[in-house]
Amino acid sequence: MWIRKLGGAALAAIGAIGMSTAAVAAEPVRIGAFLSATGPASFLGEPEKKTLEMYVERLNKDGGVLGRKIELVVYDDGGAPDKAATFAKRLIQNDGVDIIIGGSTTGTSMAAIKVVEPAGVPFISLAGGIDIIEPVKKWVFKTPHTDRMAAEKVFADMKKRGLTKIAMISEDAGFGKSGHAQSLKVAPSYGVEIVADETYSPKDPDVTAQLTKIKNTAGVQAVFNFGFGQGPAVVTKNYKQLGFSVPLYQSHGVASKDFIKLAGDAAEGVRLPAAGQVVAEQLPATDPQKPVVMAFKKDYETAFKSDVSTFAGHAYDGLQMALAAIKRANSTDKAKVRDEIEKTSGYVGTGGLVSMSADDHMGLTLSAFHMVEIQKGDWVLAD
């Protein structure tokens, strides 16, 4: 008989966890988040989680929103999409959240969409993949730029510099794969031809073999690396080792100081598209983004003693847009909040100027990206 007892005990334990969250009084505004705080995408999820926690705590000190406290429920999906789907369900069914922010990666976001769409809960994703918002899904929004925009920005810069024959080297995991596919799609419209195309695994200790192949391809005028984590730093170091003379472009996936720290001197001269956040100080005073990114940078860096990244900014933008929508809707009614998020217009965030519409659930334009070059271990605006 003890199978039943054991099962019963386990279920009772889950029940107790469920109860403890349900027992909070005075109907707070509940914000749910599932993030990849551990696992291969932890450098996205960890700052996102810290950012959400910091601002929710601060907002609660200032009296919350609509006169109600804000309650934040965060789960760590470890980067696993099936876990993300289960946690999304838990947030909706068990924790009764009013809105969900999260999905550090495209895979976890896509898995959660299968849960949030039928449930009808507003969902703001923090991942880059264009599939999240294209085709438009009623309840789904996202804050970061898409990988397609990153590719467009890079190719536009190449075109400006007269580089038309290029090689790609991309990571064979989600971010790099998707970025690679989008790059192939948009390259022709910028007159860029991809003459060599290589991949590597995120944890490869050495990619000189792939780069040698690229180096031996005739006519390569530039190399474009799509990936995040330590991979691009390995690529950059190996690139220098092999003595390439053509410029190296990286994606927005490396737009954090960690990349420069890891790649060291080899990062000199690398170009990449990045949000205004990383070049906060260099933005002209007239830029409407300047005060926002400067303030966020100060908040984050004083709280956590580490350099701010654009990823933390995605979470900040998501939270701000969600709260603004709740304020405008003057309730947490899910349909009303959804409508208000869609009406977001002229929001100045860390990612750029956001104006959404019924057929654009991201609301950023290419101008949100700046081309930056790494010089003397720091970002320098290059456009």
């Binding site: 000189t208 792939q210 730093a233």
Partner: protein, 291 residues
């Protein structure tokens, strides 16, 4: 053409030396106890992480490296003392689960003790590439290969020229007989974990300038090390080294000449083929089951 080939070989040697060190760690513990220690990769991670954080805190590299090796060896001994030894007599699969549990535990501990970010170490002797016959080699790769060779030579001396080393070898051949002639099997077990941890730590320290490290860095290296050890023939130190180099070079040549997307798959296909024809790996003892 030749320069290209040489470049692939250099790439393969760098990765291969790392895999070989990891594989050797598997082999030593396997010899002493017939345990496959799936936490071997975590030794590499702990070695790299402790050195990187200590150097970042301003401690000179040699001091930091020595301290890191010591810390890792302590972890290795603790693992043996508190997880492997109490489970003696357990089924092989049970011990596999224990060491996998240990690797998850150590990873979890690392993200609490340190953080989830990547850490780098400066290269030991600069970053000016060395040109060899049209191909280039980083000084750090020379360090990796050189230190690996030095450690391997040291181990050879230990196992063949010291009394205790010989006792360990004897235990691996016949545990009961070793016990009968008065060799402390418990001590042998503990020393084997300490040695493997040391190997892992040294490997972790020399590769961190190349690959960087974070709390999850041990997973991939552990897996590749296991592959190297099995390919070479379990319990054969030389086999593990050759296995590591074969896997590393096969990967590099595959990404150079075939497809970089399938290089890992190609490495595993090679391992499978070898096992189909040589079921005990390249240098494994032919198994004779006692009935």
């Amino acid at each position: 053409m030749f320069a290209e080939f040489l470049q692939y070989v250099f790439a393969g040697l760098t990765s291969g030396a790392i895999y070989a060190l990891a594989g050797l760690g598997f082999a030593i513990i396997y010899n002493a106890s017939h345990v496959i220690n799936f936490a071997q990769g975590e030794f590499i991670m702990i070695g790299g992480m402790s050195t990187a954080t200590m150097v970042a805190a301003g401690i000179p590299l040699p001091v930091a490296a020595a301290a890191a090796v010591l810390v890792t060896m302590l972890v290795g001994v603790a693992l043996e003392k508190f997880a492997v030894e109490p489970a003696k007599g357990a089924d092989v699969t049970a011990i596999v689960i224990i060491t996998i549990g240990a690797s998850i535990f150590l990873r979890g501990a690392a993200q609490v003790v340190w953080d989830k970010e990547f850490h780098a170490l400066p290269a030991f002797s600069g970053e000016t590439p060395i040109a060899v016959l049209g191909a280039t080699l980083m000084p750090q790769s020379v360090w990796v290969v050189g230190v690996s060779m030095a450690v391997i030579a040291l181990l050879w001396w230990f196992f063949n020229r010291t009394l205790f080393g010989k006792a360990m070898l004897a235990t691996s051949f016949n545990r009961l007989a070793a016990q009968l002639v008065g060799i402390g099997v418990k001590k042998v077990l503990m020393v084997s974990f300490a040695l493997s941890a040391m190997l892992g730590a040294v490997g972790g320290i020399v590769v961190t300038p190349i690959t960087f490290t974070n709390y999850e860095a041990g997973i991939m290296l552990g897996l590749k090390g296991f592959s190297a050890a099995v390919l070479g023939g379990l319990g054969n130190g030389l086999g593990a080294i050759v296995g590591g180099l074969v896997v590393g070079i096969a990967e590099a040549l595959a990404s150079g000449y075939l497809s970089s997307a399938y290089k890992d798959a190609i490495a595993f296909v090679i391992i499978l083929l070898v096992l189909f024809f040589m079921p005990s790996g390249l240098f494994g003892k032919k198994g004779t089951d006692r009935v």
